[in-house]
Symmetry: C2
């Protein structure tokens, strides 16, 4: 049993304390969201708000007696020593950056949940065999610098540091200059010394668990993702005079691609699990009485099975060319993100399942629809995730995002159990 | 013959001098246009560039010995006295503001052509019975403050001065503050003392004249115009997780409206003369992995016959509601411009036709697809327009906009003839 005895060691986190910590971090970057009338969170990566959020979490880490390291891409690691100084640590983590219209759970639950696990161990004066590390990674959302999981991808060596540093936001500011600006360009090397295992607790960001009335999602993997950035070039012309058949309107091409994507999903020919989204459509010059000459748009397509996603993309990309020809415009597309589906370590899945069961919680195996830092960590060490349900059909990337105190506590308790067991495992 | 003898009085303008003056004004607000590789013009109303353009034209007016007046909405009038101080003046005019991606002809030809007419009269030491006024009006394009023909509409009492002053641009700056900023908040009253007649020379901004290989367009009127500003509100959600049938995606609604408009035009059920354009589509929050919660878009619909336009709008507005219901989004629409079709004075049309003929120029009756200051003046006095062809299918609102020296000179020569005849007419 690796020196681990469940009955002897079971602890539980403090649900109120965890929830209060989510409120505390959620107050940083809070804004009034007009469409919902709610208070949302806006902490885009490496903005002043993200800087304030980071300092808040680092202070909490130091208050728990953890040793804090910041690496060259701004990832932050907080370490609690174990009994065996040579043993590799068990890591928990996620991110605290957000999209522009976020709630207070996405990412934060994994980081603050990790700190709540440490706090619970501290209170019980429990020292594990292996060290425990709580991490938060830079720009998981990709909402500012257009590449998601940026920090964890650099740590896992999928993206080179120089490439990541040179990514720019819409104003042309680089990741490196913005890391410097908020004081989080650390000096620790970015390449992660492989931990023993990695566990991340996260809100599902989808409707499945809540609809099934289930407490815990045992995450089997992450679906495959492709992001395209399209630049469609036509010809500006006077709106009142130019006959339709003489126009080269990139807006028409964009609208056709938008509706084609939905039809592709609804057709069911790539199963019901295909997702497709146009999140950005920007017209130039953007005047009421001018046919645009240029439209910039983004396309986000996902499927749990990379082979199916490949087939869907194999239909989509020729459609770009077809629209270009038919509308006499130019459609350029750039792949800004592409990750295959990821399978999480069976050992970690099994631990999540067993501890959910052990606490009398209902559970369900689930594939993650969203990308997560855990999928980058899966390339480095055995990794897995614990999902908790979200209310309101699991809405996320929206101020209405909401998980109850109990839902959050269930997930973090399972993470606590899993981490405690992993942290007693033998070997280096 | 009203004291007017054609053979005695015929003068001709200097085509080189006119063309050089278009180049001179076109250099102000010049920018490099990436899509075309050409030098374009960007003098959005009441910007610093427009201010510079205005000072340049006012200097030219003063150099011709004209008395310059600036009114409370920034319209500029330059007056040349006639033989009879009690007689109402004949006015020529147009605008010098531009869209963001303009050429150097739109509007400028009417204003600089008017000054070239005065220059020709000055050189010939010809004094007409009636005074002659050359005017340029504020924000004809509507490209900055979202209401076109703003200055001439105020002069014609269609729009109240206070209403016009309080219009704002995207940055929230008002017309009044921007008039002050560029030094063109004049003190003359805005209400125009009705001139004897108004004539405007303009590029067609469409393909008709050039395709017919015709020199002069005898403009019979201006088509009816409607502008809608739509705000479509849905619900932001995570792109990777939210199933299509749980989404309320305002982008899908916008794309459907965009394609519906085109289908409506191409169907031919409102004749081939219907025009419909979506010039702006702005997504919020505008992130690759977030279903937008809000899309702002503009719709521009035009037809030569207001009754037909009414019918088209009678189909379109219920479609907004249909899309709203089917996509479970909210579609709000605001009418930001609405003008019925305008018929120009038969007397002015007849003069344009006769003088084109008299110069041996080919001509064609034509309805204007674009809105013009002349349509506002038509509410105040007999008004008319002279169109000249544009190359490249008459493209306009684009740096490729181009009319040859000869095409421009033909139009301004006809305007000269028409003005000289009108300026000898009897009465007050």
């Amino acid at each position: 049993m690796n020196g681990y005895d469940e009955r002897m060691t079971r602890l539980s986190i403090d649900a109120d304390r965890l929830y209060a910590s989510l409120d505390g971090l959620g107050a940083i970057g809070a804004y009034h969201d007009e469409p919902t009338g709610l208070t949302g969170v806006r902490r885009l990566a490496l903005t002043a708000e993200d800087g304030a959020g980071r300092r808040h979490v680092v202070a909490a880490m130091r208050a728990l007696g953890l040793a804090v390291t910041v690496d060259r891409i701004g990832n932050v690691y907080a370490r609690r020593e174990g009994r065996d100084p040579r043993a590799k640590p068990v890591m928990m983590g996620s991110h605290i950056d957000s999209v522009a219209t976020a709630g207070r759970f996405d990412g934060c639950l994994g980081v603050l949940g990790g700190l709540e696990v440490v706090r619970t161990l501290n209170d019980a004066q429990r020292v594990t065999r292996r060290p425990i590390v709580v991490a938060f990674f830079t720009e998981e959302e990709g909402a500012r610098f257009s590449t998601d999981m940026l920090g964890s991808a650099v740590a896992a060596k999928r993206i080179a540091l120089e490439t990541a540093w040179s990514r720019t936001d819409r104003a042309g500011k680089t990741v490196k200059s913005e890391l410097e600006a908020i004081g989080f360009l650390g000096d620790a090397p970015v390449e992660l010394d492989p931990p023993h295992a990695y566990v991340e607790c996260h809100v599902e960001q989808g409707p499945v668990l809540r609809a099934a009335n289930v407490d815990i999602g045992v995450v089997t993997g992450v679906q495959a993702i492709a992001w395209h950035e399209l630049v469609i070039t036509g010809r500006s012309a006077h709106a009142g005079t130019t006959p339709m058949d003489l126009r080269r309107d990139p807006g028409i091409a964009a609208a056709r691609i938008q509706l084609y994507l939905r039809a592709m999903v609804l057709s069911g020919r790539y199963t019901k699990q295909l997702r497709a989204t146009v999140g950005v459509t920007q017209y130039s010059p953007g005047l009421v009485n001018v046919v645009p000459n240029r439209v910039q748009m983004t396309v986000d397509v996902r499927h749990p099975d990379d082979e199916v996603l490949k087939k869907a993309l194999g239909e989509l990309v020729p459609f770009y060319a077809k629209v270009a020809e038919e509308e006499r415009v130019e459609v350029q597309h750039k792949v800004t993100a592409r990750t295959p589906d990821i399978a999480f370590a069976p050992r970690v899945q099994e631990l999540v399942l067993r501890h959910a069961e052990g606490r009398g919680l209902s559970f369900k195996k689930i594939v993650s629809g969203a990308g997560h830092d855990a999928q980058e960590m899966a390339a480095v060490c055995p990794a897995g995730m614990v999902f908790v349900p979200g209310e309101y059909e699991g809405i996320s990337h929206n101020p209405r995002e909401f998980s109850t105190k109990e839902q959050c506590a269930n997930g973090v308790n399972v993470m606590l159990d899993v981490v405690m067991e992993l942290a007693e495992e033998e070997g280096v």
